[in-house]
């Protein structure tokens, strides 16, 4: 499998009043056309890793890496303009909450058509046709109706489907999904995931799935990176997660209450300073 994305020693740091905070400290991985999960708690640097790949790190932060190559393009030395051309067209990102990441004053259909127009993948009637087809592909039952709605008029699950439609309509090669289902109900979560799963498989995309939910990620992805304090502490095949070696991964798995298993009190994570070293 040829690598779609190569990341070597990625670092993201933020200058603050009390010194430099290193959010990501030397993350390396390669990604083919597969589903990779990145798991960690808040502050582990998982989202910043995804954002750095897309070039969405805030301007006051510094990003450095030994290698950051997407499909033969060195992302570290491309211009902002080239970066913009990649973003949305070849690398796309689904964000956590559709309430905040869709444009509230623009109809859903127009937002999706805008994506197409921005990347020169069709305008006018052609764009409209493709948008409606895409809305149908994310299992929206009345695409014509949803096309005309504003984001506040749809439910969370519907909004998230619209966002996935918007991200996939330009047919990117790599999709980064940052907690795409955390704002949704459990039952809706699974629907959205199965849509995502199907589209990723059909179109042969690479997927980076960022989440705090280790169990969800392991049931969805092929491979999982577990991050702690800005580093990858363990990389493991998703189906072998129960054989994980690192105490942090085990701790994350064990601290969840499980149906049909009573455990009082729940085991808590005993954080060791050497994990962050």
């Amino acid at each position: 499998m040829s690598a779609l994305l190569e990341v070597e020693n990625l670092r993201v740091s933020f200058p603050t009043r009390s010194g430099v905070v290193e959010a990501v400290r030397g993350v390396s991985f390669t990604l083919g056309r597969e589903r990779l999960g990145i798991v960690g708690e808040s502050g582990s640097g998982k989202s910043q890793t995804g954002r750095a790949i897309l070039g969405l790190t805030p301007p006051h932060a510094t990003v450095s890496a030994d290698r950051l190559v997407f499909d033969g393009i060195d992302l570290l030395c491309v211009s902002a303009k080239e970066r913009r051309a990649l973003r949305g067209k070849r690398i796309a990102m689904v964000l956590q909450d559709p309430k905040f990441s869709l444009n509230p004053v623009m109809r859903i259909g127009d937002q999706i058509m805008e994506t197409l127009a921005a990347h020169g993948r069709g305008t006018g009637a052609e764009a409209r046709r493709r948008t409606l087809a895409m809305l149908e592909a994310v299992q929206i039952r009345h695409p014509e109706r949803v096309f005309r709605l504003y984001p506040h008029e749809v439910s969370g699950g519907m909004g998230q489907r619209a966002m996935i439609a918007m991200m996939l309509v330009a047919e990117p090669d790599l999709l980064i999904a940052d907690e795409p289902t955390s704002a949704l109900d459990v039952t809706v979560q699974l629907q959205v995931l199965s849509i995502l799963d199907k589209l990723v498989a059909e179109r042969g995309m690479g997927l980076i799935f960022v989440s705090h939910d280790l169990r969800l990620v392991s049931s969805f992805c092929d491979r999982v990176l577990v991050m702690y304090a800005g580093r990858v502490v363990e990389e493991i095949a998703a189906d072998r997660l129960h054989q994980s070696q690192h105490p942090y991964t085990q701790g994350l798995l064990n601290c969840l209450p499980k149906l049909g298993q009573s455990q009082h009190p729940l085991p808590v994570l005993d954080r060791k300073p050497e994990w962050a070293a």
Partner: protein, 249 residues
């Protein structure tokens, strides 16, 4: 055994929208009772109606045998306290932890605030080092501990918990759930816990009510749920959903 809380045929309407439609339940003293459902199922509204934060359109709510009217007495709030979902939103951003904890004491005219605040902070595992900090200087889990301390400082009998851990990381959730269990054991509290997470509710509660579209769907014990003795398709659906993603499903 007496009932700490009895709800019969509760209806809550907001204008034309019926958020809760005929919910009845009774919670025994010292019991932990769960309400489960998706967003919009009315589970939080039931809790808010008990606390007096949502209007009771029809039906009755009785706490400790006393039927509640339109308003709640001070005495009610000494017996019943609530912990909200979002620890970022439920603490005043410009009040120190000390002030947040002193306020309920002042409202109820309870003396020796000093000692009580120290004790409350200790009980939730924070220590006095946090006493004069502001909420933004605390992590989400620590803030939720403050919210629990604020509820406990009045020594209530019933605690209404509205998704107390869904804004927290899994590892922090475990800590807060353990704290809640420990406090309940020590003080013999009655809990009503609202959550969308079946696993959390089964872990914390003895019995639970599944709700959908404002209506009760199924009342069952945690043991039944764990053993999958489920009657209704909706509960089964929730159960499957909580087990994670399955390809081809």
């Amino acid at each position: 055994m007496t009932d700490a809380l009895t709800i019969s045929d509760l209806v809550v309407e907001f204008d034309d929208f019926r958020a809760v439609d005929g919910v009845s339940l009774s919670v025994r003293e010292g019991e932990s009772f769960g309400l489960v459902g998706e967003s919009g199922s009315g589970k939080s509204t039931v809790l808010r109606a008990v606390a007096g934060l949502a209007p009771i359109t029809a039906g009755t709510i009785a706490v400790g045998g006393e039927t509640l009217g339109r308003t709640r007495s001070k005495d009610f709030y000494r017996r019943v306290q609530m912990v909200f979902q979002d620890p970022y939103g439920s603490l005043h951003p410009r009040h120190t932890i000390d002030r947040a904890l002193a306020e309920p004491l002042a409202v109820h005219g309870i003396g020796d605030a000093e000692q009580r605040i120290v004790k409350a902070l200790e009980e939730v595992g924070l220590g006095t080092g946090f006493r004069f900090r502001y909420p933004h200087q605390l992590s989400g889990g620590q803030r939720q501990r403050v919210a629990i301390a604020r509820a406990l400082i009045l020594e209530p009998k019933v605690l209404l918990l509205d998704e107390p851990t869904s804004a927290l990381d899994a590892s922090v959730q475990a800590e807060v759930l353990n704290l809640l269990e420990e406090v309940r054991r020590k003080r013999g509290l009655t809990y009503i816990l609202v959550s969308h997470d079946l696993a959390v509710v089964t872990h914390m509660c003895e019995r639970l009510l599944v709700m959908q579209h404002g209506k009760p769907v199924e009342l069952l014990t945690s043991a039944d749920l764990a053993a999958r003795r489920i009657e209704t398709p909706y509960t089964r659906e929730l159960m499957v959903a909580s087990e994670g993603f399955k390809r081809g499903a």
